[in-house]
Symmetry: C2
Amino acid sequence: VTEPIAVLSGGVGAARFLAGLIDAVDDPTSVTAIVNVGDDCTMHGLSISPDLDTITYTLAGAIDGERGWGLVDESWRAMGALERYERVRPGDSRAAARWFGLGDQDLATHFYRTARLDEGAALTTVTDEIRRAWDVPVAIVPATDDPWSTIVDTEEHGEISFQDYFVRLRHDVAVRGVRFEGSPVLGADARAALTGADVIVIAPSNPLVSIGPIIALPGVESLLATRRDATVAVSPIVGGAALKGPADRMMTELGHESSVVGVASLYAPFASALVIDPVDAEHAPEIEALGMRAIVTPSVMSSPDVARSLAEATIDAMTRH
Amino acid sequence: VTEPIAVLSGGVGAARFLAGLIDAVDDPTSVTAIVNVGDDCTMHGLSISPDLDTITYTLAGAIDGERGWGLVDESWRAMGALERYERVRPGDSRAAARWFGLGDQDLATHFYRTARLDEGAALTTVTDEIRRAWDVPVAIVPATDDPWSTIVDTEEHGEISFQDYFVRLRHDVAVRGVRFEGSPVLGADARAALTGADVIVIAPSNPLVSIGPIIALPGVESLLATRRDATVAVSPIVGGAALKGPADRMMTELGHESSVVGVASLYAPFASALVIDPVDAEHAPEIEALGMRAIVTPSVMSSPDVARSLAEATIDAMTRH
């Protein structure tokens, strides 16, 4: 498998793909995950980076596979003890909110990150320290060190934070827009990985709220466009449905087709190939009409073996054609 | 017992005294604990108020009696999980520090406080919310809502924070000075309690680093001086030794006598009586020579009964003479 490889990553889907990629490559240290930070939030004073942690924990073999997030053998004593404060919580304060689940062991990661950021360390630095603490061989870099927040505009509640949409409301509300807030700069490590990679993979993550915030960073779309021949996307939509999360519904609500063709339309300006599942093979001509090669290979990562084969097929498609 | 009563309070000793006072008074809601915040600190992004919590937890019957701080039936999963980050902690970062013990259930209190302060609520407001969540009848108010930090000047390490001195170094270093940092204003509730109380008690807490930061708030010493006839102190030094903590050693190091006479010298300008244990009865004449009445009564709060008797004797001495 050709290296180095850069992978634009959201959370769960990207983490599974990266786990497969580690199995597929000769040298995992040649892989860089460039990770969405649009979901990052502050809860109870703690700096939380859900996608970074999901990728780190997954690649460390420590993720809770059933939930898809957080650590195995987790306990919830701190969250449980917050219940006492619910009845004295004034107005719309979220001080006693328990909807954002923070497991007792997981808290240590947020403690460490928060303290290091308070000390002035960059998120890139802290993320690498956390990665090393978990003995993960793949480089994990935030797309930016700067605040860059995904804001979801909902029919019912107007503009709300991503975690309000995703966790508190369980993404069960109609979305009429998405935007990103901040004045970020693409991280230096992320830029180096995008510039130096032999292959750039857009992981099977939500195109609008996981990959979208990375692409929307100033300069990234044009940088990617110069690397279009090296860039391949893996469709997170299979048979018209999202593998996980609200990507399908959100695609439709925001005027895109919830299909591999809709994904191709979004990515065609900067990716030259799209990996799709055999169930979508019939759409290959439409994808090619958009100027992308269609790579057909099993994409539902139901096991580590499928994830590895998917990663292999994705990289091979870019190096052997 | 005459009410209302205001009690200048540090942590453990004051908490035990207050528990006795609750048993002694007809109406616990007429008692206000004015609590030291000089020990307050930020750890891992969390706003921590050790003395406020010790008093709240003690009066709620939820304190771990053996440790004297923190909650009963506590677990330490979050702290334990920090161990992983020790080996990647750079330089003198305390991001992975585990010397400041934060129990899993205790964390909920810090989560709530941190989030409410971030929302702009005053510490007085948040403290009262926490008190109500624990069903504590006594009013608990921070001496000030403003930052006001105890800085300890040590022979070995120069100036360090109070928690560095007290917890990290286990107060096992020589102290050559104490000062307080900030531009605080006495809290409005604290002022009202001091002005309106029939009896003001200086609890058996460390005079220099628990009571000291309260007295050092601008205007407090002169306010107390106007209430000298109503103010009584309970000596935290018995038989020359501190009931708990480093008060005895610190008194000596900072040029005071480690005895009830040393305590009387500190408090004589604004307290008209000092409660001392029978083992110190011989010092009564020296205390009276300093212009204070000496009240002799058992002061080692080895049981709730002793704490109650001590509280009764303390209040009675101010109302029956």
